[in-house]
Amino acid sequence: MTFALLIQSMVIGLSLGSTYILMALGLTLMFGMMHIINFAHGAVYMLGAFVIYYVFAQWGAAYWIAFFLAMLLLGAFGFVIERCIYRPIKGGVEPTLVALIALTTFLQAMGYPVFGTLDKHVPTVFHGMYSILGVGISAERLMIIPVAGVLVLGLYLFINKTKMGAAMRAIEQDKEAAALQGVNVHVVNALAFGVGFALAAASGALMAPIFKLDPMMGEQPLLKAFIIIILGGLGSIPGAILGGLILGQIDSIVATVMGLEPAFLLSFVFIILLLLFKPTGLFGHEV
C-alpha cells in the first residue's frame, strides 16, 4: 500500500467517522441517560430521512424547513412512544427492549407497502466537490461535520447547562433521590425520548441526500451507533466522538488494505479486546 493511498484512506476514514458520529448522537442520550438500548433508533433514522423525501423532495419545501420538521415530528413521536409504550411497561429494561424491537420490525415492514418497493433518492442539497489530500470529497459529506458539530454542541449544552439536563443527570445517578428532590421523572423521560428520537431523525435527514432511502436503511447505522457508544463508554459524548473516529479509520484503512470482511472482523475483534481490557469503554463508568 502506497503512502498516498494510506493518506487518502485516512481522509475517507474521517468522512466515514463523521457519518458514524452523527448516527450515534440520538443513541448516546437515551443510552446514557435512561440506560435504554433504543433498538428503534434505526427505524427513527429511516423515518427522518423519509420526512425529507416527502416534504423536501416531493412537496418542494426548503431543505432546512424539512429538516426541522423531521426533528419535530419524530421528537413528538418519541413523546408518544414514551407515553404509550415505555411508561405502561413501568420501565422494565427487558420488556422495553422487546417492545422497541417489535416497533422497529413494524415500522420497517410498513415501509414497503407505504413507501413503495423501489429505493428512493433525494436531490443533493449542498453542491460541489472538494479535493482533500488527493481525495474527492463532496460538499454534502463535508457538511456533516458542522451540522454534527452543532448537534453535539447543542446536546452537550442541553445536558450540562440546562435545568432539564441536570434533571436527567440526576435521574441517571439515582432515580429515587431525584424524584424526592422534586424532579418529575415522567416529564424528563418523555423529554429524553423526544430529544433522542429527534437526533436520530436529524441524522437520517442529513444522510438522505448523500445515500439512498429504503425502509431498512436504519439497520447499518444502528449497528455502527451501538459499536461506537460501547467503544466510547456509556453516556460519554467525547467517547462517542472518539469511538466514531476510531471505527471510521478501521473501516476505511483495513477495508482498503484487506477487503471488507476482514475489516469488519477486525472491528469486532477490536471491540472484544477493548472491552476485555477496559470493561466500560474508553470514557465510560460503571452502570
Binding site: 476514514g13 429505493d119 445515500f211 429504503d214
Partner: protein, 392 residues
C-alpha cells in the same frame, strides 16, 4: 392449584386455537383450479424483487383466467397463485417451500433467491415438483435437477454482451468488478471473469461487499488505484449500484459501468445523479424504445398495482413458461410439463423464447431468448442491441 389448572387449560386452549387458526384441517382444493406456488421475499430488503415476482405472475394468470382459463385435456382450469413470504431467510425459505409442497399440494412453483433455491434443491427433487426459479446459483441448472428450469438469463448467457463491447469499444481493456458477497455474486463474477479473460480483458480488481453497505469509498479507493477502464457491477441491486457509481465518480473515476445482471437504471440514475450514469450498459432493462408488447404490459401492470416496476418484465418468465408448457403437454403432471418445457417455443415480453443450454449445463433447462442490452443516454436506458446467448 387452581392456578396450575388454569395454566394448563389456557395452554391447551391456546394450542388448539393456534393450530386451528393455521389450518391443520386440509381444505380440499377446488377441482378446476391449478395452484402455482411462489416462495419469494415479500418483505425486507429483497422485497423489491419479490413483490414484482408475485405481481407479474398474478397478472399473467389473471389474463389467462379472464380469457376462460387454461384448457388441459378437454377441461378448463383457473390458474391461481399461492404466494408466501420467505424474507430471504433460509429457514423461512425451506418452510415456505415445504408448506407449498406438503400442505398446499402445489406441484409447480417458482422460488426467488439463489441461496433459497439451493436450500430447497433436494426437497424439490424428492417431491417431484416442477420448479421455475429466479435464482443465480452455481449448479442449480444441471442434469441432476431435471425438474428445475431457470427462468431468467444467467451470467453464462448474458456475458455474450462483452463480445459486443469488445467489437464496438476496443479502447476498453482493464476491467474491475464489484458484487455482493454471496453465492449469486460469486458465481456471476466467476462466469463473467472467465468469459472476459478469454476475450482478452485484464481483470485488475475483484471486490465483494456485504449487502446493506452504503459507503463503498474504502473499497472503491482500492479498486481505483488499479486504474480500471470499466467497472462491472454485476449482481448488485439498484440501490447499491447507484451508491457505487455516485461514490466512484466522487473519487474521480471517469470510465463506464456495466451490469449484465439486470438493474433498474432509473433508480440508479436517481441516486447517483443523471450525469454520472451516462454511458452505462445494462442487460434486461429498457426504457426506450419500448416495444409494443412492453408498453401494453407496463400499462396493465401499473393499472393493476398502482406502481410500475420494470423488474416485473423478466419476472413474468416463469408464468409465461408454465402456461406455454402446460398448453403443449396437455397434462398436469410435472414430469410431462417438464418434457414439454424442454421443447416448447413461446413468447415472453422480449420475443421468442425456449429452454436450452445443453452445451453449457448438460441439460436444456435454462431459458434462452434474445436478450435486450441498453445504454443509458441522458438518464434513459436506451436499447442498443438484442443478442442471443452463446449457447442455444
Amino acid at each position: 392449584m387452581i392456578q396450575r389448572f388454569i395454566t394448563l387449560l389456557s395452554l391447551m386452549l391456546c394450542a388448539v386455537v393456534l393450530i386451528m387458526a393455521s389450518g391443520v384441517r386440509q381444505v380440499s382444493a377446488a377441482d378446476n383450479v391449478i395452484k402455482f406456488g411462489i416462495a419469494t421475499p415479500l418483505s425486507g430488503p429483497a422485497a423489491a424483487w419479490g413483490i414484482p415476482h408475485k405481481q407479474a405472475t398474478e397478472l399473467v394468470f389473471d389474463e389467462i383466467n379472464s380469457q376462460g382459463g387454461l384448457e388441459v385435456a378437454g377441461k378448463r382450469y383457473k390458474v391461481e397463485v399461492v404466494a408466501y413470504d420467505h424474507k430471504y431467510v433460509i429457514a423461512e425459505g425451506v418452510a415456505t417451500v415445504n408448506r407449498l409442497i406438503s400442505k398446499d399440494d402445489v406441484k409447480y412453483l417458482s422460488i426467488l433467491g439463489g441461496a433459497v433455491a439451493k436450500a430447497n434443491e433436494e426437497a424439490v427433487n424428492e417431491a417431484g415438483v416442477l420448479a421455475l426459479p429466479l435464482a443465480y446459483a452455481e449448479g442449480l441448472v444441471s442434469p441432476k435437477n431435471p425438474l428445475i428450469f431457470h427462468s431468467f438469463p444467467a451470467p453464462p448467457e448474458t456475458t455474450t454482451f462483452w463480445k459486443w463491447v469488445k467489437e464496438h469499444h476496443p479502447e476498453i481493456k482493464r476491467l474491475a468488478t464489484i458484487s455482493p458477497n454471496d453465492d449469486t455474486g460469486w458465481w456471476s463474477i466467476k462466469v463473467e471473469t472467465q468469459y472476459t479473460e478469454k476475450l482478452g480483458y485484464e481483470t485488475v480488481a475483484k471486490e465483494f461487499f456485504e449487502r446493506g453497505l452504503t459507503d463503498f469509498n474504502p473499497i472503491l479507493l482500492r479498486m481505483l488505484a488499479r486504474n480500471p477502464d470499466i467497472i462491472s457491477v454485476n449482481a448488485a441491486p439498484a440501490g447499491s449500484v447507484g451508491l457505487i457509481i455516485k461514490q466512484a465518480r466522487e473519487l474521480g473515476f471517469k470510465g463506464r459501468f456495466i451490469h449484465i445482471g439486470q438493474v433498474d437504471t432509473s433508480v440508479v440514475a436517481g441516486i447517483a445523479g443523471k450525469q454520472n450514469v451516462e454511458g452505462m450498459w445494462v442487460h434486461g432493462y429498457v426504457e426506450t424504445p419500448l416495444p409494443e408488447s412492453l408498453k401494453s404490459w407496463k400499462e396493465r401492470y401499473t393499472k393493476k398495482y398502482g406502481e410500475w416496476n420494470a423488474t416485473s418484465i423478466d419476472f413474468a418468465n416463469p408464468a409465461f413458461s408454465f402456461i406455454a408448457a402446460v398448453k403443449k403437454a396437455q397434462s398436469l403432471e410435472p414430469k410431462k410439463i417438464a418434457q414439454a418445457l424442454q421443447t416448447v417455443e413461446f413468447d415472453n415480453l422480449w420475443g421468442k423464447a425456449h429452454y436450452g443450454g445443453k452445451d453449457f449445463y448438460g441439460i436444456n433447462n435454462q431459458i434462452i431468448y434474445a436478450m435486450p442490452f441498453s445504454e443509458v443516454k441522458d438518464g434513459v436506458a436506451t436499447m442498443i442491441v438484442q443478442l442471443p446467448p452463446p449457447h442455444n
